[in-house]
Symmetry: C2
Subunit: 236 residues, 2 copies
DNA sequence: GTGCATATTGCACTGAGTGCAACAAGTCAA
DNA sequence: TTGACTTGTTGCACTCAGTGCAATATGCAC
Protein backbone atom coordinates (compact mmCIF):
# COMPACT_ATOMS: atom_id res chain seq x y z
CA UNK A 1 0.00 0.00 0.00
CA UNK A 2 2.75 2.37 0.82
CA UNK A 3 4.55 1.14 -2.26
CA UNK A 4 1.49 1.70 -4.39
CA UNK A 5 1.31 5.18 -3.06
CA UNK A 6 4.92 5.88 -3.89
CA UNK A 7 4.48 4.48 -7.35
CA UNK A 8 1.49 6.62 -8.15
CA UNK A 9 3.52 9.60 -7.00
CA UNK A 10 6.20 8.78 -9.53
CA UNK A 11 3.64 8.30 -12.25
CA UNK A 12 2.05 11.62 -11.50
CA UNK A 13 5.45 13.15 -11.72
CA UNK A 14 6.20 11.67 -15.11
CA UNK A 15 2.80 12.69 -16.36
CA UNK A 16 3.42 16.19 -15.15
CA UNK A 17 6.71 16.44 -16.93
CA UNK A 18 5.18 15.25 -20.15
CA UNK A 19 2.18 17.52 -19.94
CA UNK A 20 4.16 20.66 -19.30
CA UNK A 21 6.98 20.00 -21.75
CA UNK A 22 9.68 20.79 -19.32
CA UNK A 23 11.87 19.21 -16.75
CA UNK A 24 14.05 19.75 -13.80
CA UNK A 25 12.15 21.98 -11.51
CA UNK A 26 14.25 22.97 -8.61
CA UNK A 27 17.23 20.70 -8.52
CA UNK A 28 18.45 22.71 -5.60
CA UNK A 29 16.48 24.48 -2.93
CA UNK A 30 17.57 27.01 -0.43
CA UNK A 31 14.36 27.02 1.52
CA UNK A 32 12.92 30.39 0.69
CA UNK A 33 13.39 33.79 2.22
CA UNK A 34 14.65 32.67 5.56
CA UNK A 35 15.65 29.14 4.94
CA UNK A 36 14.80 26.69 7.63
CA UNK A 37 17.88 24.61 7.04
CA UNK A 38 21.04 24.78 5.06
CA UNK A 39 20.75 22.14 2.46
CA UNK A 40 23.78 22.83 0.38
CA UNK A 41 27.01 21.56 1.81
CA UNK A 42 26.26 18.08 3.14
CA UNK A 43 24.84 16.41 0.08
CA UNK A 44 25.75 12.75 0.58
CA UNK A 45 24.22 9.87 2.46
CA UNK A 46 20.94 8.07 2.15
CA UNK A 47 19.24 10.47 4.50
CA UNK A 48 20.13 13.52 2.48
CA UNK A 49 19.28 11.87 -0.80
CA UNK A 50 15.84 10.94 0.46
CA UNK A 51 15.32 14.43 1.69
CA UNK A 52 16.09 15.86 -1.72
CA UNK A 53 13.71 13.42 -3.33
CA UNK A 54 10.92 14.35 -0.97
CA UNK A 55 11.60 18.02 -1.51
CA UNK A 56 11.30 17.52 -5.22
CA UNK A 57 8.14 15.47 -4.90
CA UNK A 58 6.51 18.17 -2.81
CA UNK A 59 7.49 20.91 -5.21
CA UNK A 60 6.34 19.09 -8.29
CA UNK A 61 3.10 18.05 -6.64
CA UNK A 62 2.49 21.62 -5.52
CA UNK A 63 3.25 23.27 -8.84
CA UNK A 64 1.27 20.71 -10.73
CA UNK A 65 -1.78 21.25 -8.62
CA UNK A 66 -1.43 25.02 -8.59
CA UNK A 67 -1.41 24.99 -12.36
CA UNK A 68 -4.21 22.49 -12.74
CA UNK A 69 -6.60 23.65 -10.05
CA UNK A 70 -5.37 27.02 -8.86
CA UNK A 71 -3.40 28.14 -5.85
CA UNK A 72 -6.17 28.83 -3.38
CA UNK A 73 -8.02 25.70 -4.41
CA UNK A 74 -5.05 23.50 -3.67
CA UNK A 75 -4.93 22.53 -0.01
CA UNK A 76 -1.91 21.33 1.87
CA UNK A 77 -3.66 18.00 2.27
CA UNK A 78 -3.77 17.68 -1.50
CA UNK A 79 -0.09 18.42 -1.83
CA UNK A 80 0.87 16.15 1.02
CA UNK A 81 -1.17 13.30 -0.40
CA UNK A 82 0.29 13.76 -3.87
CA UNK A 83 3.79 13.85 -2.46
CA UNK A 84 3.14 10.79 -0.31
CA UNK A 85 3.90 12.49 2.97
CA UNK A 86 1.79 13.58 5.89
CA UNK A 87 0.47 17.10 6.15
CA UNK A 88 2.60 17.61 9.22
CA UNK A 89 5.77 16.63 7.39
CA UNK A 90 5.16 19.27 4.77
CA UNK A 91 6.08 21.88 7.34
CA UNK A 92 9.45 20.30 7.83
CA UNK A 93 10.23 21.17 4.23
CA UNK A 94 8.49 24.48 3.76
CA UNK A 95 7.48 27.07 6.27
CA UNK A 96 4.30 27.83 4.39
CA UNK A 97 2.35 26.99 1.30
CA UNK A 98 3.62 29.92 -0.72
CA UNK A 99 7.22 29.02 -0.05
CA UNK A 100 6.89 26.36 -2.69
CA UNK A 101 6.76 29.18 -5.19
CA UNK A 102 9.12 31.53 -3.42
CA UNK A 103 11.86 28.94 -3.33
CA UNK A 104 11.82 28.95 -7.12
CA UNK A 105 12.42 32.65 -7.25
CA UNK A 106 15.08 32.45 -4.60
CA UNK A 107 17.25 30.58 -7.05
CA UNK A 108 17.16 33.61 -9.31
CA UNK A 109 18.26 35.85 -6.49
CA UNK A 110 21.37 33.72 -6.19
CA UNK A 111 21.96 34.01 -9.92
CA UNK A 112 21.62 37.75 -9.81
CA UNK A 113 24.26 38.10 -7.17
CA UNK A 114 26.65 35.81 -8.98
CA UNK A 115 26.04 37.46 -12.31
CA UNK A 116 26.71 40.89 -10.86
CA UNK A 117 30.18 39.96 -9.78
CA UNK A 118 30.90 38.35 -13.14
CA UNK A 119 29.99 41.54 -14.99
CA UNK A 120 32.32 43.74 -13.02
CA UNK A 121 33.87 45.12 -16.19
CA UNK A 122 30.65 46.60 -17.56
CA UNK A 123 31.40 50.07 -16.20
CA UNK A 124 29.46 52.10 -13.67
CA UNK A 125 27.15 50.42 -11.13
CA UNK A 126 24.01 50.85 -13.18
CA UNK A 127 25.72 49.39 -16.25
CA UNK A 128 26.89 46.42 -14.25
CA UNK A 129 23.41 45.94 -12.87
CA UNK A 130 21.89 46.10 -16.31
CA UNK A 131 24.24 43.57 -17.79
CA UNK A 132 23.85 41.27 -14.82
CA UNK A 133 20.07 41.31 -15.06
CA UNK A 134 20.17 40.81 -18.81
CA UNK A 135 22.32 37.76 -18.32
CA UNK A 136 20.01 36.27 -15.72
CA UNK A 137 16.96 37.05 -17.80
CA UNK A 138 18.47 35.30 -20.79
CA UNK A 139 18.94 32.26 -18.62
CA UNK A 140 15.26 32.01 -17.72
CA UNK A 141 13.88 28.59 -18.40
CA UNK A 142 10.94 29.69 -20.38
CA UNK A 143 7.97 27.46 -19.62
CA UNK A 144 8.82 27.34 -15.95
CA UNK A 145 8.96 31.10 -15.52
CA UNK A 146 5.71 31.67 -17.32
CA UNK A 147 3.98 28.99 -15.31
CA UNK A 148 5.09 30.45 -12.03
CA UNK A 149 4.24 33.95 -13.16
CA UNK A 150 0.77 32.79 -14.13
CA UNK A 151 0.18 31.21 -10.76
CA UNK A 152 1.47 34.28 -9.03
CA UNK A 153 -1.12 36.43 -10.70
CA UNK A 154 -3.97 34.23 -9.49
CA UNK A 155 -4.25 35.47 -5.96
CA UNK A 156 -3.66 38.80 -4.32
CA UNK A 157 -1.78 37.12 -1.50
CA UNK A 158 0.68 35.74 -3.99
CA UNK A 159 1.16 39.00 -5.83
CA UNK A 160 2.09 40.45 -2.52
CA UNK A 161 4.59 37.70 -1.93
CA UNK A 162 5.92 38.25 -5.38
CA UNK A 163 6.68 41.80 -4.39
CA UNK A 164 8.75 40.37 -1.60
CA UNK A 165 10.74 38.37 -4.11
CA UNK A 166 11.63 41.58 -5.89
CA UNK A 167 13.04 42.84 -2.64
CA UNK A 168 15.13 39.68 -2.53
CA UNK A 169 16.42 40.43 -5.99
CA UNK A 170 17.18 43.95 -4.95
CA UNK A 171 19.11 42.77 -1.93
CA UNK A 172 21.06 40.26 -3.99
CA UNK A 173 21.96 42.88 -6.55
CA UNK A 174 22.94 45.34 -3.87
CA UNK A 175 25.22 42.82 -2.22
CA UNK A 176 26.80 42.02 -5.53
CA UNK A 177 27.43 45.68 -6.23
CA UNK A 178 28.79 46.24 -2.74
CA UNK A 179 31.39 43.59 -3.30
CA UNK A 180 32.53 45.42 -6.43
CA UNK A 181 32.53 48.88 -4.85
CA UNK A 182 33.49 48.18 -1.26
CA UNK A 183 33.80 51.83 -0.25
CA UNK A 184 31.30 52.90 2.38
CA UNK A 185 30.60 56.31 0.95
CA UNK A 186 29.05 54.81 -2.14
CA UNK A 187 26.55 52.63 -0.29
CA UNK A 188 23.48 54.81 -0.66
CA UNK A 189 24.08 55.19 -4.34
CA UNK A 190 24.44 51.45 -4.83
CA UNK A 191 21.26 50.86 -2.90
CA UNK A 192 19.56 53.24 -5.23
CA UNK A 193 21.00 51.58 -8.29
CA UNK A 194 19.83 48.17 -7.12
CA UNK A 195 16.37 49.53 -6.51
CA UNK A 196 16.15 51.21 -9.86
CA UNK A 197 17.49 48.23 -11.75
CA UNK A 198 15.10 45.77 -10.14
CA UNK A 199 12.36 48.27 -10.80
CA UNK A 200 13.28 48.22 -14.46
CA UNK A 201 13.19 44.44 -14.34
CA UNK A 202 9.78 44.53 -12.75
CA UNK A 203 8.35 46.85 -15.34
CA UNK A 204 9.79 44.83 -18.19
CA UNK A 205 8.45 41.57 -16.86
CA UNK A 206 5.08 43.22 -16.55
CA UNK A 207 5.05 44.50 -20.10
CA UNK A 208 6.44 41.25 -21.38
CA UNK A 209 3.71 39.25 -19.73
CA UNK A 210 1.04 41.48 -21.17
CA UNK A 211 1.96 41.75 -24.80
CA UNK A 212 5.06 39.60 -24.83
CA UNK A 213 5.87 39.17 -28.48
CA UNK A 214 9.50 40.11 -28.10
CA UNK A 215 11.95 38.45 -25.76
CA UNK A 216 12.10 39.76 -22.23
CA UNK A 217 15.65 41.02 -22.68
CA UNK A 218 14.43 43.52 -25.28
CA UNK A 219 11.94 45.02 -22.89
CA UNK A 220 14.57 45.19 -20.21
CA UNK A 221 16.96 47.14 -22.44
CA UNK A 222 14.17 49.54 -23.33
CA UNK A 223 13.33 50.03 -19.70
CA UNK A 224 16.90 51.06 -18.94
CA UNK A 225 16.87 53.46 -21.87
CA UNK A 226 13.62 54.99 -20.68
CA UNK A 227 15.03 55.33 -17.24
CA UNK A 228 18.04 57.26 -18.43
CA UNK A 229 16.00 59.52 -20.64
CA UNK A 230 13.57 60.46 -17.90
CA UNK A 231 16.19 61.17 -15.32
CA UNK A 232 18.37 63.13 -17.72
CA UNK A 233 15.51 65.48 -18.37
CA UNK A 234 15.30 66.33 -14.72
CA UNK A 235 16.08 69.61 -13.08
CA UNK A 236 17.95 69.73 -9.82
CA UNK B 1 -23.72 45.37 30.96
CA UNK B 2 -23.69 46.37 27.37
CA UNK B 3 -23.41 49.96 28.49
CA UNK B 4 -20.50 49.10 30.72
CA UNK B 5 -18.85 47.52 27.79
CA UNK B 6 -19.33 50.55 25.61
CA UNK B 7 -18.05 52.81 28.34
CA UNK B 8 -14.90 50.84 28.83
CA UNK B 9 -14.35 51.08 25.10
CA UNK B 10 -14.50 54.84 25.28
CA UNK B 11 -12.18 54.91 28.22
CA UNK B 12 -9.67 52.72 26.44
CA UNK B 13 -9.88 55.08 23.54
CA UNK B 14 -9.19 58.15 25.61
CA UNK B 15 -6.36 56.40 27.36
CA UNK B 16 -4.89 55.46 24.03
CA UNK B 17 -4.99 58.99 22.77
CA UNK B 18 -3.31 60.26 25.88
CA UNK B 19 -0.62 57.62 25.84
CA UNK B 20 0.33 58.13 22.25
CA UNK B 21 0.12 61.92 22.16
CA UNK B 22 -1.88 62.06 19.04
CA UNK B 23 -5.38 62.13 17.76
CA UNK B 24 -7.61 61.58 14.83
CA UNK B 25 -6.67 58.27 13.43
CA UNK B 26 -8.43 57.60 10.25
CA UNK B 27 -11.23 60.11 9.98
CA UNK B 28 -12.00 58.63 6.62
CA UNK B 29 -11.53 55.12 5.39
CA UNK B 30 -11.58 53.77 1.92
CA UNK B 31 -11.39 50.15 2.95
CA UNK B 32 -7.95 49.25 1.75
CA UNK B 33 -6.66 48.00 -1.56
CA UNK B 34 -9.92 46.80 -2.95
CA UNK B 35 -12.42 48.55 -0.85
CA UNK B 36 -15.45 46.58 0.15
CA UNK B 37 -17.79 49.52 0.02
CA UNK B 38 -17.69 53.06 -1.07
CA UNK B 39 -17.97 55.12 2.03
CA UNK B 40 -17.38 58.55 0.69
CA UNK B 41 -20.44 60.14 -0.85
CA UNK B 42 -23.29 59.38 1.54
CA UNK B 43 -22.01 60.74 4.82
CA UNK B 44 -25.19 61.76 6.62
CA UNK B 45 -27.76 59.96 8.70
CA UNK B 46 -27.63 58.07 11.94
CA UNK B 47 -26.70 54.86 10.21
CA UNK B 48 -23.65 56.31 8.51
CA UNK B 49 -22.56 58.13 11.63
CA UNK B 50 -22.68 54.94 13.64
CA UNK B 51 -20.75 53.17 10.99
CA UNK B 52 -18.00 55.73 11.12
CA UNK B 53 -17.89 55.48 14.87
CA UNK B 54 -17.59 51.72 14.77
CA UNK B 55 -14.92 51.97 12.12
CA UNK B 56 -12.96 54.27 14.32
CA UNK B 57 -13.43 52.11 17.38
CA UNK B 58 -12.13 49.08 15.53
CA UNK B 59 -9.12 50.93 14.20
CA UNK B 60 -8.15 52.44 17.48
CA UNK B 61 -8.65 49.17 19.30
CA UNK B 62 -6.55 47.39 16.72
CA UNK B 63 -3.70 49.86 16.64
CA UNK B 64 -3.65 50.13 20.38
CA UNK B 65 -3.37 46.40 20.81
CA UNK B 66 -0.84 46.02 18.00
CA UNK B 67 1.38 48.54 19.74
CA UNK B 68 0.87 47.18 23.22
CA UNK B 69 1.02 43.46 22.57
CA UNK B 70 2.25 43.00 19.03
CA UNK B 71 0.51 42.26 15.76
CA UNK B 72 0.60 38.47 15.75
CA UNK B 73 -0.32 38.32 19.40
CA UNK B 74 -3.47 40.37 18.88
CA UNK B 75 -6.37 38.18 17.81
CA UNK B 76 -9.46 39.33 16.05
CA UNK B 77 -11.41 38.35 19.14
CA UNK B 78 -9.36 40.82 21.14
CA UNK B 79 -10.03 43.59 18.68
CA UNK B 80 -13.71 42.78 18.39
CA UNK B 81 -14.12 42.72 22.14
CA UNK B 82 -12.27 45.98 22.57
CA UNK B 83 -14.38 47.60 19.86
CA UNK B 84 -17.60 46.19 21.35
CA UNK B 85 -18.61 44.29 18.26
CA UNK B 86 -18.78 40.64 17.38
CA UNK B 87 -15.94 38.93 15.63
CA UNK B 88 -18.16 38.36 12.65
CA UNK B 89 -18.99 42.03 12.34
CA UNK B 90 -15.33 42.89 12.09
CA UNK B 91 -15.33 41.39 8.62
CA UNK B 92 -18.03 43.80 7.53
CA UNK B 93 -15.59 46.62 8.12
CA UNK B 94 -12.28 45.09 7.09
CA UNK B 95 -11.54 42.23 4.77
CA UNK B 96 -8.67 41.07 6.90
CA UNK B 97 -6.71 41.86 10.00
CA UNK B 98 -3.91 43.64 8.20
CA UNK B 99 -6.31 45.94 6.44
CA UNK B 100 -6.54 47.92 9.64
CA UNK B 101 -3.01 49.03 8.91
CA UNK B 102 -3.27 49.16 5.16
CA UNK B 103 -6.24 51.48 5.29
CA UNK B 104 -4.02 54.02 7.02
CA UNK B 105 -1.52 53.93 4.20
CA UNK B 106 -4.23 54.09 1.62
CA UNK B 107 -5.00 57.60 2.74
CA UNK B 108 -1.50 58.59 1.76
CA UNK B 109 -1.95 57.12 -1.68
CA UNK B 110 -4.86 59.51 -2.16
CA UNK B 111 -2.71 62.40 -1.00
CA UNK B 112 0.06 61.48 -3.39
CA UNK B 113 -2.24 61.54 -6.36
CA UNK B 114 -3.74 64.86 -5.37
CA UNK B 115 -0.40 66.39 -4.59
CA UNK B 116 0.99 65.35 -7.94
CA UNK B 117 -1.63 67.28 -9.82
CA UNK B 118 -1.11 70.31 -7.62
CA UNK B 119 2.60 70.39 -8.41
CA UNK B 120 2.17 70.40 -12.14
CA UNK B 121 4.43 73.43 -12.50
CA UNK B 122 7.50 71.78 -11.01
CA UNK B 123 8.90 70.85 -14.40
CA UNK B 124 9.68 67.42 -15.80
CA UNK B 125 7.86 64.33 -14.50
CA UNK B 126 10.53 63.35 -12.02
CA UNK B 127 10.61 66.87 -10.63
CA UNK B 128 6.88 66.88 -10.22
CA UNK B 129 7.04 63.51 -8.52
CA UNK B 130 9.74 64.69 -6.16
CA UNK B 131 7.87 67.81 -5.15
CA UNK B 132 4.64 65.88 -4.73
CA UNK B 133 6.24 63.32 -2.46
CA UNK B 134 8.02 65.99 -0.45
CA UNK B 135 4.73 67.70 0.13
CA UNK B 136 3.02 64.53 1.27
CA UNK B 137 5.93 63.59 3.46
CA UNK B 138 5.84 66.95 5.15
CA UNK B 139 2.22 66.32 5.93
CA UNK B 140 2.95 63.11 7.80
CA UNK B 141 1.47 63.12 11.25
CA UNK B 142 4.56 62.15 13.06
CA UNK B 143 3.72 59.84 15.93
CA UNK B 144 1.15 58.01 13.86
CA UNK B 145 3.49 57.21 11.02
CA UNK B 146 6.22 55.99 13.32
CA UNK B 147 3.81 53.82 15.25
CA UNK B 148 2.50 52.19 12.11
CA UNK B 149 5.98 51.76 10.74
CA UNK B 150 7.08 50.11 13.94
CA UNK B 151 4.19 47.67 13.84
CA UNK B 152 4.87 46.94 10.22
CA UNK B 153 8.38 45.84 10.99
CA UNK B 154 7.20 43.32 13.57
CA UNK B 155 6.13 40.55 11.29
CA UNK B 156 7.30 39.34 7.94
CA UNK B 157 3.75 39.08 6.71
CA UNK B 158 3.27 42.75 7.38
CA UNK B 159 6.48 43.82 5.72
CA UNK B 160 5.24 42.04 2.70
CA UNK B 161 1.96 43.88 2.86
CA UNK B 162 3.84 47.09 3.31
CA UNK B 163 5.54 46.40 0.01
CA UNK B 164 2.10 46.22 -1.51
CA UNK B 165 1.33 49.65 -0.15
CA UNK B 166 4.33 51.00 -2.00
CA UNK B 167 2.83 49.64 -5.17
CA UNK B 168 -0.31 51.57 -4.30
CA UNK B 169 1.75 54.71 -3.95
CA UNK B 170 3.39 54.01 -7.25
CA UNK B 171 0.07 53.56 -8.94
CA UNK B 172 -1.30 56.75 -7.43
CA UNK B 173 1.72 58.71 -8.53
CA UNK B 174 1.57 57.22 -11.99
CA UNK B 175 -2.06 58.15 -12.38
CA UNK B 176 -1.32 61.65 -11.22
CA UNK B 177 1.48 61.99 -13.74
CA UNK B 178 -0.64 60.56 -16.51
CA UNK B 179 -3.23 63.24 -15.96
CA UNK B 180 -0.51 65.86 -16.41
CA UNK B 181 1.05 64.24 -19.48
CA UNK B 182 -1.88 62.63 -21.22
CA UNK B 183 0.07 61.58 -24.31
CA UNK B 184 0.26 57.83 -24.81
CA UNK B 185 3.83 57.77 -26.03
CA UNK B 186 5.12 58.97 -22.69
CA UNK B 187 3.40 56.26 -20.65
CA UNK B 188 6.36 53.94 -20.15
CA UNK B 189 8.53 56.80 -19.08
CA UNK B 190 5.97 57.97 -16.55
CA UNK B 191 5.63 54.49 -15.20
CA UNK B 192 9.35 54.44 -14.75
CA UNK B 193 9.37 57.80 -13.05
CA UNK B 194 6.69 56.72 -10.61
CA UNK B 195 8.62 53.59 -9.81
CA UNK B 196 11.85 55.40 -9.27
CA UNK B 197 10.29 58.13 -7.16
CA UNK B 198 8.49 55.71 -4.87
CA UNK B 199 11.71 53.76 -4.66
CA UNK B 200 13.45 56.91 -3.48
CA UNK B 201 10.70 57.36 -0.93
CA UNK B 202 11.13 53.81 0.25
CA UNK B 203 14.85 54.15 0.70
CA UNK B 204 14.49 57.43 2.55
CA UNK B 205 11.88 56.09 4.91
CA UNK B 206 14.16 53.17 5.60
CA UNK B 207 17.17 55.33 6.38
CA UNK B 208 15.05 57.71 8.35
CA UNK B 209 13.68 54.95 10.53
CA UNK B 210 17.12 53.61 11.23
CA UNK B 211 19.11 56.67 12.17
CA UNK B 212 16.40 59.29 11.85
CA UNK B 213 17.91 62.39 13.36
CA UNK B 214 16.95 64.60 10.46
CA UNK B 215 13.46 65.09 9.09
CA UNK B 216 12.30 62.60 6.49
CA UNK B 217 12.13 65.27 3.80
CA UNK B 218 15.89 65.75 4.03
CA UNK B 219 16.53 62.09 3.35
CA UNK B 220 14.11 62.18 0.48
CA UNK B 221 15.92 65.08 -1.18
CA UNK B 222 19.20 63.27 -0.78
CA UNK B 223 17.76 60.15 -2.31
CA UNK B 224 16.72 62.06 -5.40
CA UNK B 225 20.16 63.61 -5.66
CA UNK B 226 21.80 60.21 -5.36
CA UNK B 227 19.52 58.88 -8.01
CA UNK B 228 20.47 61.53 -10.47
CA UNK B 229 24.17 61.19 -9.77
CA UNK B 230 24.17 57.44 -10.28
CA UNK B 231 22.21 57.49 -13.46
CA UNK B 232 24.17 60.36 -14.94
CA UNK B 233 27.36 58.37 -14.57
CA UNK B 234 25.91 55.63 -16.70
CA UNK B 235 27.04 54.55 -20.12
CA UNK B 236 24.51 53.71 -22.77
C1' DG C 1 -47.02 52.31 12.55
C1' DT C 2 -45.72 49.22 8.14
C1' DG C 3 -42.46 47.65 4.79
C1' DC C 4 -37.91 47.68 3.11
C1' DA C 5 -32.95 47.83 3.26
C1' DT C 6 -29.03 47.23 5.68
C1' DA C 7 -26.24 45.90 9.99
C1' DT C 8 -25.24 42.69 13.50
C1' DT C 9 -24.75 38.44 15.31
C1' DG C 10 -24.14 33.35 16.30
C1' DC C 11 -23.01 29.09 14.45
C1' DA C 12 -20.81 25.82 11.96
C1' DC C 13 -17.31 25.16 8.83
C1' DT C 14 -12.62 25.15 6.11
C1' DG C 15 -7.85 25.58 5.92
C1' DA C 16 -3.18 27.26 7.42
C1' DG C 17 0.06 26.71 10.78
C1' DT C 18 2.14 25.06 15.59
C1' DG C 19 3.50 22.21 19.69
C1' DC C 20 4.03 17.88 21.44
C1' DA C 21 5.06 13.27 22.13
C1' DA C 22 5.42 8.66 20.11
C1' DC C 23 7.59 6.15 16.78
C1' DA C 24 10.53 5.01 12.57
C1' DA C 25 14.64 5.29 10.07
C1' DG C 26 19.49 6.56 9.16
C1' DT C 27 24.23 6.83 11.21
C1' DC C 28 28.20 5.56 13.46
C1' DA C 29 31.18 2.90 16.32
C1' DA C 30 32.48 -1.18 18.56
C1' DT D 1 25.13 -7.26 14.12
C1' DT D 2 23.95 -4.86 17.74
C1' DG D 3 23.03 -1.05 20.36
C1' DA D 4 23.19 4.05 21.35
C1' DC D 5 22.43 8.37 19.21
C1' DT D 6 20.47 11.50 15.98
C1' DT D 7 17.25 12.99 12.81
C1' DG D 8 12.81 12.45 10.25
C1' DT D 9 7.91 11.29 10.14
C1' DT D 10 3.53 11.09 11.84
C1' DG D 11 -0.97 11.73 14.33
C1' DC D 12 -3.42 14.47 17.43
C1' DA D 13 -5.20 18.28 19.45
C1' DC D 14 -5.07 22.98 19.28
C1' DT D 15 -5.30 28.20 17.77
C1' DC D 16 -6.57 31.53 14.73
C1' DA D 17 -8.05 33.81 10.21
C1' DG D 18 -11.61 33.94 7.24
C1' DT D 19 -16.38 32.51 4.91
C1' DG D 20 -21.34 31.25 4.21
C1' DC D 21 -25.71 31.22 6.00
C1' DA D 22 -29.75 32.26 8.25
C1' DA D 23 -31.97 34.73 12.16
C1' DT D 24 -32.55 38.91 14.32
C1' DA D 25 -32.07 43.88 15.17
C1' DT D 26 -31.80 48.49 13.63
C1' DG D 27 -32.32 52.61 10.77
C1' DC D 28 -35.10 54.75 7.16
C1' DA D 29 -38.84 56.43 4.25
C1' DC D 30 -43.61 56.62 3.56
Amino acid sequence: MWLACARSGVLALADYRASLHHVQFCTRFYGGLDRMQDLLPKSEGLRERKRQETLQRITEAGLKSFIARGYEETTLDDIAAAASISRRTFFHYFKSKDEILLAQLDNYAQSIKASTVENASAGEPLDVAREALLKVVNGFEEPQMSAIARIMRQSKALQVRRGMANLQFEKALYEGLCSLWPGKQRRDGLRMVAMVAVGALRLSVETWQQDGKRPLAKYLRDAFKNLRAEIRATDS
